[in-house]
């Protein structure tokens, strides 16, 4: 699941029509399944997690039925099923069924064997050697070998192909084939994320792609007609309508229980939810919270709720004279009742967010200082900074300048649109005038990247790697992702030290400190971490849905014979 690694700005397009959910009264409502595995410290280690490996293996010793079709409803069609040219998570979800990675990333970020049976670092920790399985074949019958791994690495780092995760491989010097089932990655330096960097991305078939010139990858036949080596095999792509994959009989673990998985594209969210209710789709990811109550009364559906990997924030442009004082930014956060946003617009399906690191990452600091809602304190802090309502118009001013600004966000995401209005109201109470400015998504993201905004509501999809440089470091000041022009030498020093620290406990302390510095500075007002709500038909068994990805163990899902709905 390649997208699971990247840090991406999100523009979740939520439905624009509202619908009031029923009052929670029905006692038969299903209880959500909370299945997120606690995070351990195995993210960068080469050791396996024995419990998770045992759980994975136990399935193959258990009794299960084969057959049935899973119909997944998605808003958007995929664009390419080639790992190196795809861009959306719709595509990433399907790619992860068709292709194998060297290792499987577990919910606790530990690595389990997949294409690689085992792996080992050299004593100087600069070489990582993978021992591959010899019984994996491509769906056209050709064997998967170390040559494919080397070929994939070369293409992943080919700038002309421009893989979106190309940066993950920047510290790898080369990939060397030792023999058909042994392959070695040689690194430029020793750092904590070597294993993760080496295994990111799926392995591609050399024999099918080596003749395609790099410049032609962006539109080659393989993008729409992929041949993989994973548990499922590509069958048909009906453009803008559906993608169908079927169980691969040749899969090295034996065929997966489900016969087929159909990804059905329904661009309209109301329609998608309707089809979930009527049973025309079996699964929907990221169901908007407003539908939860209604759907949880449906006896055929099981809700899966877990923390998502996104956080939503308000960015303060530090180049703007209004937001240059740390005290003022802290006052802005203190003036905001974030719980009101969560209760009113997310139906409580979110947690207040305190800092820039997702709680699912090992280095998350649970003891970060917070700025709880307190309009009195906010007013006091603003007054200390010289912001007073001297002309009696209800808006604070200082040296003749009124505390007035716009909050931008993207159209199509109803929750964010509403946040701008709620925040407008809340800030008005302390004498600040914030005007919502809803822009077409592409225009908004372009403004954000060009840093042409005063303040903005946006969200980050967080990667699995502990990484703060791109968004916060002074080095990134002129890059587009440091949207707010954040720069603090103390942070830079702690961050740089943490990046190279191999000792996990020492690194953790440094990362905790780095988060404290950011939170103290409040360049963002961190709003909340939404929960992800997924609904799945009840007949599917052995489902392990996780923050790391809903389809983590989809090759082990099965439906009992007497409950199967399709062939």
């Amino acid at each position: 699941m390649q997208k699971s690694t990247a840090l991406v700005l999100i523009a979740l397009l939520a439905a624009s029509l509202s619908c009031t959910p029923k009052q929670p009264s029905d006692q038969t409502a299903s209880k959500p399944v909370e299945s997120a595995t606690p995070v351990t410290d195995r993210g960068t280690s080469e050791d396996l997690n024995p419990q998770l490996e045992e759980k994975w293996e136990a399935f193959y010793r258990s009794k299960y039925d084969t057959g049935d079709t899973l119909v997944v409803g998605t808003i958007g069609d995929a664009e390419s099923l080639n790992d190196l040219t795809h861009v959306t998570s719709s595509a990433a979800d399907i790619i992860s069924l068709l292709f194998l990675q060297l290792t499987r990333t577990n919910p606790d970020f530990s690595h389990g064997p997949a294409l690689a049976r085992s792996w080992q670092f050299s004593p100087d920790h600069l070489e990582l050697t993978f021992k591959l399985r010899d019984d994996v074949t491509w769906h056209d019958g050709v064997k998967t070998t170390a040559q494919d791994v080397k070929f994939t690495f070369e293409k992943q780092t080919d700038e002309v192909i421009a893989w979106s995760a190309i940066k993950w491989k920047e510290n790898i010097k080369e990939c060397v084939v030792v023999d058909d089932t042994t392959v070695k990655f040689i690194f430029k330096k020793v750092y904590p994320y070597q294993l993760m960097d080496a295994v990111v991305g799926v392995i591609l078939p050399k024999h099918l792609l080596e003749k395609v010139p790099s410049a032609e990858w962006k539109s080659c036949e393989f993008n729409r007609n992929p041949i993989g080596n994973g548990p499922f095999k590509f069958k048909e792509w009906r453009a803008k309508e559906a993608i169908e994959v079927v169980a691969s009989e040749k899969f090295y673990r034996g065929r997966p229980p489900l016969n087929r998985i159909i990804f059905k594209v329904v661009p309209d969210q109301e329609n998608l939810v309707l089809q979930l209710k009527t049973g025309q789709i079996d699964f929907m990811e990221q169901v908007p919270p407003k539908f939860f109550e209604e759907l949880s009364h449906n006896r055929d559906l099981v809700p899966y709720v877990f923390p998502s990997r996104t956080y939503v924030y308000i960015a303060w442009n530090l180049k703007n004279s209004l937001f240059q004082s740390k005290k003022v930014r802290q006052a802005l956060t203190t003036a905001m009742d974030r719980q009101e946003i969560i209760d009113a617009r997310l139906y409580k399906f979110a947690e207040i967010c305190k800092g820039p690191i997702s709680p699912i990452i090992w280095a998350y600091n649970p003891n970060l200082p917070d700025f709880p809602y307190d309009p009195e304190k906010a007013r006091k802090w603003l007054a200390e900074e010289g912001w007073k309502d001297s002309d009696g118009d209800g808006i604070l001013d200082k040296d003749g300048k009124r505390f007035e600004f716009t909050i931008q966000t993207n159209q199509g995401n109803k929750i964010r649109e509403d946040i701008t209005v709620i925040v407008q109201n809340q800030l008005k109470k302390v004498g600040i005038s914030a005007k919502p400015l809803i822009l077409e998504a592409n225009t908004f993201f372009s403004n954000l990247n060009k840093k042409e905004f005063e303040s903005a509501v946006a969200g980050w999809f967080v990667g699995l790697k502990m990484e703060m440089t791109t968004i916060w470091h002074s080095r990134s000041l002129n890059d587009k992702f440091n949207h707010v022009y954040y720069s603090n030498p103390e942070f830079d020093a702690v961050n740089d030290q943490a990046c190279d620290e191999m000792d996990r406990e020492k690194a953790r302390k440094l990362w905790w400190r780095a988060q404290e510095i950011i939170v103290e500075d409040q360049p963002y007002t961190f709003l909340y971490v939404p929960k992800q709500i997924n609904f799945l038909h009840r007949r599917f068994k052995n489902v392990q849905m996780e923050t790391i990805g809903w389809s983590y163990n989809i090759e082990q899902w099965w439906a009992p014979k007497d409950q199967q709905k399709y062939r």
């Binding site: 190309i166 940066k167 329904v266 309209d268 329609n271 309707l274 009527t278 025309q280 592409n442 990667g463």
Partner: protein, 325 residues
Amino acid sequence: MRTFILRRLLVSAVTLFGLLTINFFIIHLAPGGPLEIFDNPDMSAEVRKLILKSYGLDQPLPIQYWSYLKSMCRLEFGYSIAKKRPVADEILDTLPNTIQLSMLALSLELSLGIIIGIVAAVRQDSHLDKTLRLSSLTLYSIPEFYLGLLFLLLFAGGVGALAWLPPSGMVDLVAYDSMGFFEKLADRILHLILPCMTIALGGAASISRYMRGQLLEVIRQDYIRTARAKGLSERAVIFKHGLRNALMPIITIIGLSLPVVFSGTVIVENVFGWPGMGRVAVDAAFQRDYPIFLAVNLMFGALVVAGNLLADILYAVVDPRVRLS
């Protein structure tokens, strides 16, 4: 007649060129770009530049425009940036679906509109007429996306357990492959009903009002009175003498309906998940996928121009006075 057609063709060509130029500059001057939405920090600035270069987007706008014109002369549409495939492929996949939907919707719209118009005119000022006029005005005023949602709720399982009609797509994805020929046909028709009705009803409403007005005007003419005086049956008067003359202006309306029908497909394709070119157009506009946006809009433009051309020619065939002007 030949000069008339030639002149019309020339005008069409100029129109298309204008359309192509305006489209080109509108989309390129719109804020944002093709990489904004998918951009992520793992992509380095150099890679970003290389991507833009590979699509020729690093050149100054006039040069891009010139190379665009050149590629249009060779009928090359280039490569989609967001869809990772040739633009022509994306259009070939979706254009037939849009034509299928819009042509069926147009025929439905015309037949419904004409029939309702005749009934309303013949029964002028009756309760039936008043009901038809009121309901057509109501239907005409409902936006298509709303009508679509209403249909979804009523006929596709939104209310209670009634799921009469499929809510999205062209076929039943799970079972289609194992169906026989007639089952397949029936399945396709079932999937067409909701999107077709959504597009057609509003248009039918407006055509029926046109039709009613035209027919009422014609019925008042002297030759109709003569026909009646001759003792022809009412049926013959209306259908043989009245309708034939009243239908003439409707031909113009067909030409004018085409853009409305196509813009209708853009919305309806999204509501009902119909895999057509309207959705390609919307996605391309949001993603600033320049090559595909330009090609799709040119296609829609060409279809509308062709429709108008056809209507003009048909009209000239029916009414020789037009050719003189």
